[in-house]
Amino acid sequence: MRKILIPTDFTVESLQLIEYAFINFPNTKLDIILIAGFKLPDTRWAITHFNEKSQIRKQLSEEFYKAKRLLVREHKEAIKDITFELFSGVNSFAFQNFLEQLHVEDAIVPKDNSLHCLSKKWFDTTNFIKKNVKNVIEVPVELTEEVPQRKYSLVSLFNL
């Protein structure tokens, strides 16, 4: 079994990275950790009421769930688990500590292009992974240029 770290921006396209994990590590059971960067809130109230799970859940769209379900069906024998992790640090030291907790040595990141940032709160962890993980595999992934519109926003109502 191998633990693979994969950055995600909660879009269906970013799930392609998981498929590349199966190509790169055939015949092994994979424990896939999807990681996204999240800046911790700066008010005391928000920090005490911070919930990692609900933050992640808020970002997951119906399509993402669907694509993930399909992926799990396709690679049932190769998947041990798919979990989400939030990295809320600011520098490489924090990221190294984070890695120690997870015991990960392999990672798959997109080549050339970076992932979307959903809002100011979220950031892309690809660069942290490239710098700190032992075995990083860069893969060609076609990511769409357009940022997906948020589900319920006033702007999208008038932005026809």
């Binding site: 790169n24 060609p140 769409t144 357009e146």
Partner: protein, 460 residues
């Protein structure tokens, strides 16, 4: 009539109806309130008049009247009349003013209080009992302030109505224009597409609204159009180019053979070479014919229900014959029992060619390493995953793999012409399917094919 004007006028019609309703309600509610307030004041004045009448002997009536008129807010055109009556028998002791209707007096006798509006005048009548004899006080006045207020309110509402209609018209028009601007954009973009720029695609946004779907539908149609167009325009070009190579080889060999007299073995060798080249030519021509066949529209091939598992087993049998060393493993574990969801509608011969090509490629480019074929289906689609551990496709060339006669740079040593995958792509597109290729060099390639099954076609 343009859709924009239609939307605007419907919008205006509905809002003006709504506004008229609301404004009329406001006007009448406020008018009734003003009137009832005025009647209240009238009755208060009537009470005061009755007091004055009762105590006429006790007070100096002139002084009292003077104070009352000057300080106790006399109403405009106020007039009071007092009639002594016999309340028991309900008859007046002096004749009533005939200009007022009888039922008004009758009501006063019945309920001790009555209201009446005649022209601009408001009347209230009150019945008082007294030891000296009962009497009725009728007080009349005009509500100048009330009329003024009502008129003002009416004018304000009418002006407000017209102003809001103007604003609604402008806003409605702007919004309708904005809402329909994607349609105009699509019309403009579609109009600009000609035979020369068939590769042009409409801009699609990520949203899920109807317009995005329309753009996507157009793009799909353009895909199909472009495929058949490309085939027509490039077919002869590519075919003659590819046919020339073996032909040149054949002609060269014949020329050398005819140069001088040869021994029998030499002729034998040359004929053998010729046979090799000719069979290559034959293979090429057959492939090109198949490619050309896919150019037919659905009239050109028979559509029949095909079970995906049977189809794949058939293909596997064919490949076993042509590549005996293959290591294709089939995984049907995920297949559901429901027959409709593993049945697709299409041309069996074409799909056989498509899947056969992909599977052959998987074997060929992985030097007969393990190839895994997995099939599963859900409600609306059948997915086929073909996974090999072969040489892979360089990432820069991934987007070119569907172009006819394109060959990846790392497979020069492996025989082929480069029309297997383009052909498969076209066939799958013709069946409204999707094909995706994920690949990493020297690690392997995954081909994912998704085709609609019988369920989804029936549901449409």
């Amino acid at each position: 009539m343009q859709l924009r004007s239609k939307i605007t006028s419907i919008f205006i019609g509905l809002t003006s109806l709504f506004l008229i309703g609301i404004f009329i309600l406001i006007y009448f509610v406020s008018k009734t309130y003003t009137e009832s307030e005025f009647y209240l004041r009238l009755s208060q004045r009537a009470t005061i008049a009755a007091q004055a009448y009762l105590e006429a002997d006790a007070l100096n009536i002139n002084i009292y009247d003077d104070i009352r008129i000057r300080h106790l807010m006399t109403l405009p055109n106020e007039k009071e009349v007092i009639y002594p009556v016999d309340a028991e028998r309900k008859i007046p002791l002096v004749p009533f003013d005939k200009s007022l209707p009888d039922r008004f007096y009758q009501k006063i006798f019945d309920t001790k209080y009555a209201e009446l509006k005649k022209d601009d005048y408001y009347y209230t009548g009150l019945l008082f009992y007294d030891s000296k004899g009962d009497f009725i006080v009728i007080l009349s006045a005009t509500d100048l302030y009330g009329f003024g207020k009502a008129e003002n309110l009416r004018n304000t509402l009418i002006i407000a109505f017209f102003i809001s209609i103007v604003f609604i018209f402008i806003l409605g028009r702007v919004y309708a224009t904005q809402a329909l601007s994607p349609i105009s954009k699509i019309i403009k973009e579609v109009n600009s597409i000609r035979a020369e720029n068939l590769s042009f695609r409409l801009e699609t946004s990520n949203s899920k609204d109807e317009l995005a779907q329309l753009a996507k539908t157009f793009n799909n149609m353009l895909d199909r159009l472009q495929i058949s167009f490309d085939l027509q325009s490039n077919f002869i070009n590519n075919a003659s180019h590819e046919l020339r190579n073996p032909l040149t080889a054949i002609l060269g060999q014949i020329e050398i053979a005819l140069n001088k007299a040869r021994t029998e073995e030499e002729y034998h060798l040359i004929l053998k070479n010729l046979d090799l080249e000719a069979s290559r030519l034959d293979f090429l021509v057959n492939g090109l014919l198949k490619l050309a066949k896919t150019d037919f529209d659905s009239k050109g091939f028979a559509i029949e229900p095909i079970r995906i598992d049977e189809l794949v087993l058939d293909i596997k049998k064919n490949i076993d014959a042509s590549i005996p060393k293959n290591l294709i493993k089939l995984d049907f574990e995920e297949l559901p029992l429901n027959e409709n969801s593993i049945t697709l509608l299409g041309s069996e011969s074409l799909l056989k060619v498509a899947f056969g090509n992909i599977l052959e490629n998987a074997c060929k480019f992985s030097e007969n390493k393990k190839v895994l074929v997995k099939i599963f289906s859900d409600n609306s689609s059948i997915s086929l995953i073909i996974k090999d551990e072969g040489v892979g496709i360089p990432e820069k060339e991934l987007k070119n793999i569907y172009e006819p006669f394109f060959r990846a740079s790392n497979v020069r040593g492996i025989e082929g012409f480069g029309f297997g995958l383009p052909l498969a792509y076209r066939i799958i597109k013709m069946h409204s399917g999707e094909i995706r290729v994920l690949s990493q060099i020297n690690k392997g390639t995954v081909v994912k094919i998704m085709l609609p099954n019988k369920n989804s076609i029936q549901n449409q």
